[in-house]
Symmetry: C2
Subunit: 255 residues, 2 copies
C-alpha cells in the first residue's frame, strides 16, 4: 500500500488519481479508515483536499477523480493514524507560509519525543507528531534564514541536516514542497521514477492510487513520481537508501 505519493513536473501536468482502492475499501475494515489528503501546486498557488472521514463512497476522492487539475507539484498522503485522533486538523498534508511561499508536508512513520522540542513561530493546530515535526523544521529554517536565502545550496544542506536530525527520533519518510522544489527524505521506504513524454501507456497503479498521465503533453515534458513503494513492477524505480535525501525541481532530480 502506498502511503506517500509525490509528483514534480516541468510543466503543469494533468495527473489523474483514480483512488480506486481508497473508494473501494473506504469505511470497511481496511486501511483507509484514517483519512487522506492531497495538495496541488499551480504556480505559487496551493490547494489541498482533505478527507478525514472513513467513507465507503468518498465524495472528495470522487471529485478529485473527475476534476482536471493541472499541477507542477503534488503531495498525497494516506493516513494510518498512529498518534493523534482522526479528525480534519490531523489530516496530512499540513501547510505553512514561509518567505512568501506555501510549504506543505506529508509524513509516514512515528517519532518519539518530538514534542519535547521547543517551538517559536510555527505551532501545530492538531495533535500529531507529524505536524509538530513540520512546525519544528519550519521554525528552524526561519531561525537559520530570517529572510529567504539566495544561496539555494545552503538552504538544501540545512534542510537535509534538519530532516536527518528529526529522523533520529523514529521513522521519518517525508515529502515537503515549497512550490519550487519537492524535498524528499527517505527514512525507511521511498522510491522514485522519472518519466518523459510521450506518456502513452504511462499508468502507474497500486491498490490505492492510479496515476494516469493525460495524453495532451508536449515532447519536452518531464515528470517524476515518488511513492512509498514502486507503483509498477516492469520499470526501474530508484529505491532510496536509508536516510537518503533528494530534491526534485521541474521533474528532475537536482540533489
Amino acid at each position: 500500500m502506498c502511503e506517500l505519493l509525490g509528483m514534480s513536473a516541468n510543466a503543469p501536468t494533468d495527473i489523474c488519481f483514480s483512488f480506486s482502492g481508497l473508494i473501494k475499501r473506504g469505511g470497511e475494515t481496511g486501511d483507509h479508515k484514517d483519512g487522506w489528503g492531497i495538495a496541488f501546486y499551480e504556480g505559487k498557488g496551493y490547494r489541498s483536499f482533505h478527507d478525514p472521514i472513513a467513507s465507503a463512497d468518498s465524495e472528495v476522492a470522487k471529485f478529485i477523480q473527475g476534476y482536471s487539475i493541472k499541477s507542477t507539484q503534488v503531495i498525497c498522503h494516506i493516513r494510518k493514524a498512529n498518534r493523534g485522533r482522526v479528525c480534519l486538523e490531523n489530516t496530512h498534508p499540513f501547510s505553512r507560509e514561509l518567505w512568501g511561499s506555501t510549504w506543505s508536508f506529508a509524513h509516514n512513520g512515528q517519532l518519539k519525543g518530538i514534542k519535547n522540542r521547543p517551538l517559536k513561530d510555527y505551532l501545530p493546530v492538531g495533535t500529531t507528531d507529524s505536524e509538530y515535526a513540520f512546525c519544528w523544521v519550519m521554525d528552524q529554517l526561519k531561525q537559520l534564514f530570517p529572510v529567504k536565502p539566495t544561496n539555494k545550496k545552503k538552504l538544501w544542506n540545512e534542510m537535509e541536516a534538519l530532516l536527518k536530525n528529526v529522523a533520529t527520533l523514529g521513522v521519518f519518510n517525508v515529502l515537503i514542497s515549497d512550490a519550487d522544489c519537492l524535498f524528499v527524505f527517505c527514512s525507511t521506504k521511498l522510491s522514485w521514477i522519472t518519466r518523459q513524454a510521450p506518456f502513452a501507456d504511462a499508468q502507474l497503479t497500486d491498490a490505492d492510487i492510479s496515476v494516469d498521465f493525460k495524453k495532451e503533453t508536449s515532447d519536452s515534458d518531464i515528470v517524476t513520481v515518488v511513492a512509498t513503494n514502486p507503483l509498477t513492477s516492469n520499470e526501474d524505480w530508484h529505491v532510496m537508501s536509508r536516510n537518503e535525501f533528494a530534491i526534485f525541481r521541474l521533474g528532475i532530480r537536482t540533489k
Copy 2:
C-alpha cells in the same frame, strides 16, 4: 450581488450552498470571472476550496453543492479582481496559522498604500492588497501578543483597532475567523441575521448563493449569517454601520 458571506453556529451545521448564480453565470460576461473560495471550520480543523478559473460549469461549486460539510464557521468570498491577476494564489479566503489556530480572511474593497507597510512574520504568497492587509494584521497581532492572549477582550479591542486602522486606506469589509470567533468589520456594506431552530423554511438566497439549513437540527441550534447584502427581504437583517466591528461566537453576537 453577494461578495462576502460568513456563518457562525453553535453546533456543526449542514449549511448548503447552491451557487446557482455562480454556476449559471460562470465564464459568461457576468460577475463571476474572477474566482471564488469558501472555507469551512470543523472544530479546529480547516479546509478551503478555491476556484480561480471562470467556468460555465464550475466543478468545485458542483462538488460543494452536493457534499455535506457540517461546519461551525464558514467564510465565503466571490472575487471581483481589482488588484492582482486572477490566479489561485490571489483567491480568497487566505489563511495563516497564529497561536496554533488557522486564521482565515476574506475581503471586499480596495486599499491604497497598504503595501508600504512593513511585514515581519507573515508574507503574502500572491499579489493582492487583501492578502497583504491580512498579513499585516496577523503580524501586528503576533507582535502585540507573542503568545496567545488569555484576556479575550484585550485581543478583541486590539483587533478592532487594527481593522479600523487598515480601513483608513480605503474600503475594507472583512470576515476573519480563528475557528473560535467570526470577526466582522464593516467598512461600507455588511448585514447579519441570527436565526434559531427550527429552520423549516430557512432558505436565504440571492443571485449567487442560496443558504439552506438542513432540517436535522436540534431546538437549541443558533446560526448567524453575515452577508454583503441581506439575502431575504421579509426579515430584519441588521445592516451594519460604517466602521462597525462585530464578533460572533457560537452563533451569537458577543461584541
